[in-house]
């Protein structure tokens, strides 16, 4: 069973990711979090296999959270999901070994990310 961590301060964005993931992989477990602190608390109880993280969140941003998750789970694939399509942010994400997923999320974009990532 694959567990996906979805982190976004927007409920609409979380719902869109959850809906797209469910249509692709109906048997996967989706854990949602509203921010970095919530995400870090939830991964204590449930280890994620994949993480999809919004960049622009109040408090800790998505890249900083990705670094913290990498410290705990060295190999998990992480996708940075963002409306900020700047090349500089894409490069920062890629330098951390994260995929860059432009909002709005679609099933195709998630499939491309997840099929490249080892499950």
């Amino acid at each position: 069973m694959t567990t996906v961590l979805v982190v976004d301060d927007s409920r609409l964005a979380r719902d869109m990711v959850t809906s797209a993931l469910t249509s692709l992989f109906s048997d996967w477990t989706i854990v949602t979090a509203v921010g970095a602190d919530d995400a870090l608390a939830k991964v204590e109880a449930q280890r994620p296999d994949v993480a999809i993280i919004d960049y622009n969140m109040p408090g800790t941003d998505g890249l900083t959270l990705a670094v913290k998750l990498r410290e705990k789970f060295h190999q998990i694939p992480i996708g940075i999901l963002t409306a900020n399509v700047q090349d500089s942010l894409r490069r920062k994400a890629e330098a951390l070994g994260c995929a860059f997923i432009a909002k709005p999320v679609t099933g195709e974009k998630l499939r491309a990310f997840l099929t490249k990532s080892p499950e």
Binding site: D9, S10, R11, L12, A13, D15, N56, M57, P58, T82, A83, N84, V85, Q86, D87, S88, L89, A102, K103, P104, T106
Partner: protein, 210 residues
Amino acid sequence: MMEISETEQDAIVELFNMGMGQAAASLSAMVGGEVTLSIPHLEIKPSGQIAELDLVRRAERICAVSEAFDGPFTGRALLIFPETSSLRILRCLMPLPPDPHPLSDDEGEALAEVGNIVLNGCLGCLANLMEMEIDGGVPSCRIGSPAQVFEGRASPFPVDEHVLFVRIDMGLADQGEGGHTLFVLDIGSVEAFLDAVRRFLSAQGPGGVG
């Protein structure tokens, strides 16, 4: 008053045209319908006059998603819709009661995400074109009468001062009145913005951006 040459004005309009084109494509994918855009309109005027836009004066209640941005130049980006138009957009994204109603906190939060995609999509495209970094803040949504949204300490523009103001009208095709997307540059950083525009123009060579 600051002078902006015709060539610079043309370049600014085209840069925002391209940026909003990207933002509209993202919104279109999100709502599953055509998004219409006007040509960007550029002027320098006091920020207080933003509350005097026709749409803002006419609507009983408006929704304004705003975020600050920072980088070589600073300012605020806003997405302003009449509340009724906001409901039409949200109906494309989530189940809502059929009748017009004041937006709830959840609906306001969903609208903030729409603003996030539009405003950051445009700013990100601009940053790429101008080869610079622009840091966008977290968008917030204010809902109420124009006076409630634009007056008081929580207003996006608590101080009335001259700003460089770029307005693009945006809406869903065949869905009635749309709204405004506004990019408002602090006057103190307009010269830095114009320098970036000049660098962009010079990088395009004698043929310009076309």
